[in-house]
Subunit: 195 residues, 2 copies
Amino acid sequence: MTAGRVAERREAKVASIVDAAWKLAAEHGIAGISLYALARAVGMRQPSLYEYFDSKHALYDAMFADGNRKLFERIEALSLPRDPRAAVKKYMRTFLDFALEDPARCELLFERHIPGFTPSPESYALAEEVLGRVGTLLNEAGVTSQGDIDCIVAMVGGLMAAQLSNDPGGTRWSRHLNRLIDLYLDDVNTRSTGR
Amino acid sequence: MTAGRVAERREAKVASIVDAAWKLAAEHGIAGISLYALARAVGMRQPSLYEYFDSKHALYDAMFADGNRKLFERIEALSLPRDPRAAVKKYMRTFLDFALEDPARCELLFERHIPGFTPSPESYALAEEVLGRVGTLLNEAGVTSQGDIDCIVAMVGGLMAAQLSNDPGGTRWSRHLNRLIDLYLDDVNTRSTGR
DNA sequence: CTTGACTTCCTATCGTCGATAGGTATACTC
DNA sequence: GAGTATACCTATCGACGATAGGAAGTCAAG
């Protein structure tokens, strides 16, 4: 597992390229990254990038994995309240804040903004880990059916997309998050304990 | 206003190009349209398209307007029930069905899938007409605050996006539409008639 | 320390794409 | 019938992602 100097140097370089790519994405949108500009940003010529990524999509895949890893870390660092409903709220709020703080990242991770790009199975596994936790958290809050989980996830996604495309940086949609969660969880409760 | 033979021929040609573009979009995705292929599909060479559209974005703009016009027509043809809640449901269902029946169109009209594309004010006005009707319909159903309208629109959008990207052609998310509308309208009701 | 292999970066070039320049034949107008 | 606008063409541009092939630097084995 110990990398060896070569592999270590290589990994560091890959990481620095991905970092530079995020900066360019923030400036020009996720689809606005040009390999020429990216190469110059890390002191290279464009073809040299192919030493580290087989294609532009491979770069996007690395960014996708990187973004999901950051999200996972932030969620890992969370100390969730005991109350399941409060935990769901905190989790979802953390997710929403993360998504909204970088539109370009959001486009890559949560919208299908790059024509033809599909994350590799390894990268997607990271995304599913985050989604899996939503499932268990919701379970603990009394949400057991997949349909209900789907609805809640879709609602949060809807808030995110609307916020991002109509009022980026604002809170016109995101501020409704907690209320919507309460609304839905109350309904689930009513349905399960005799209506 | 009467077109004259030249303008008439021109309009017909523009319409046929837009139609061909929708076909290509259905095949290769909205971003996968190449002007070369589009030109050949209507029996032209690529530069000749510039006789009808100043740029590719102008083509997208025409498609955006065309799509919204089709949506508006379908909504116009609707005979809405007197019951406001039923009317909202029927309207939203019509919208959702329309959105889901052509993923490529959906990407152009309701997601921001083309890097750098923003519809022209004239084209966007068509979209706002559809959105405006949602507002009045919801008003009649007792939803008066902008925040509530935002939430409902976001929820429907969330269902649409989730359905399209995770289960295109299916109903895993879209089938929850009516229930979600009921849930939210009930809540609005509870809030307004003393809680 | 030297040799040979691997790593890392380069220049040159390709094919595709959107876009422009400039020309020509057809169609309409006076 | 002459002049103009329309509608299409060929040729070419510049930007982009990608490939070919080579040169310098790094590193480990003898």
